[in-house]
């Protein structure tokens, strides 16, 4: 047991990643502010990146590293577009509350 705690293995990284994924999902589900929802999405992407790099390290290949690089690029694009949409929503609805944006509802 102590040996498992002191030797950093794959499970340690997977545990951190599981916590980040859980917290990110919690933010996405429970928050009404659109910007905090975006922060939750960023936490989920970071959790995925830690998993990719951990499996890449312990597999010895470069696939996970390259995938993590592309994930970071796409996260940057996603954040820029999402912030632009949030600012537009704020201009129209005067709020960034995701549950108040329901003008498509009857």
């Amino acid at each position: 047991m102590t040996e498992q705690l002191t030797t950093i293995g794959l499970n340690h990284y997977l545990t951190i990643s599981a916590f980040l994924l859980g917290f990110g999902l919690f933010a996405v589900i429970t928050r009404k502010n659109a910007i905090v929802v975006l922060m939750g999405v960023e936490l989920i992407l970071n959790a995925a990146n830690i998993n990719f790099l951990a499996f890449s390290k312990f597999n010895g290949g470069m696939e996970g590293v390259m995938f993590a690089l592309f994930v970071i690029v796409i996260a940057a694009a996603e954040a820029a577009i999402a912030l632009a949409i949030v600012i537009n929503i704020y201009k129209i609805f005067k709020s960034v509350d995701v549950s108040s944006i329901d003008s498509l509802k009857e």
Binding site: I8, L14, F19, L21, I35, L38, K57, I81, L83, I85
Partner: protein, 169 residues
């Protein structure tokens, strides 16, 4: 790998990452969430160094901390007045908590009760900058070019969406 200093530093950065991520989610003040996210990103970058992905760690600091976090802060400042403290309200607290506890519990149970991981004999060692260069220009040259076009399109689209529109006023 079982060097005690290494282990202590790993646990330190793991604690920073997880605790600041929890603070991002559980604090009610949007500004505090944004600044706590800074520590999460730095902690994740440190973990990438432990995973011998130094280039990814530097990219994480430059792109996330220098780009995405600044964008998020601008978003917070555009949409709230900075003087009045903006609390973000909470909905779906019961299903959210159930999902949080259930998912983390199920994943940890699976990780620690199955002993199926078989690490390869040749782990990634040392710096990987040179190998990333080779891979980008050989196996991953098509995704690399596609992602550059995607970034260009996303940046033009974001600038178009967020611009100040005179005719609508």
């Amino acid at each position: 790998m079982s060097n005690p200093t290494y282990t202590v530093i790993f646990y330190l950065f793991a604690a920073i990452t997880v605790c600041s991520a929890a603070f991002v989610v559980f604090t009610r003040n949007v500004i505090y969430s944004a600044f706590s996210l800074l520590f999460t990103f730095f902690g994740a970058a440190a973990l990438y160094v432990f995973l011998s992905a130094d280039f990814i760690a530097v990219t994480q600091v430059v792109v996330y901390v220098g780009g995405i976090l600044v964008l998020l802060l601008f978003g917070v400042m555009f949409t709230n007045s900075i003087m009045k403290v903006q609390k973000s309200e909470v909905i779906n607290i019961i299903p959210g908590t159930l999902l949080l506890v259930g998912m983390i519990g199920a994943m940890l149970y699976t990780f620690y009760t199955t002993h199926g991981w078989m690490p390869s004999e040749t782990l990634l060692q040392g710096s990987i900058v040179e190998r990333i260069g080779f891979e980008t220009m050989s196996r991953y040259v098509l995704p690399f070019e596609m992602v550059s076009i995607l970034l260009l399109a996303a940046l033009i689209g974001a600038a178009f969406l967020a611009r100040f529109d005179k005719s609508s006023k």
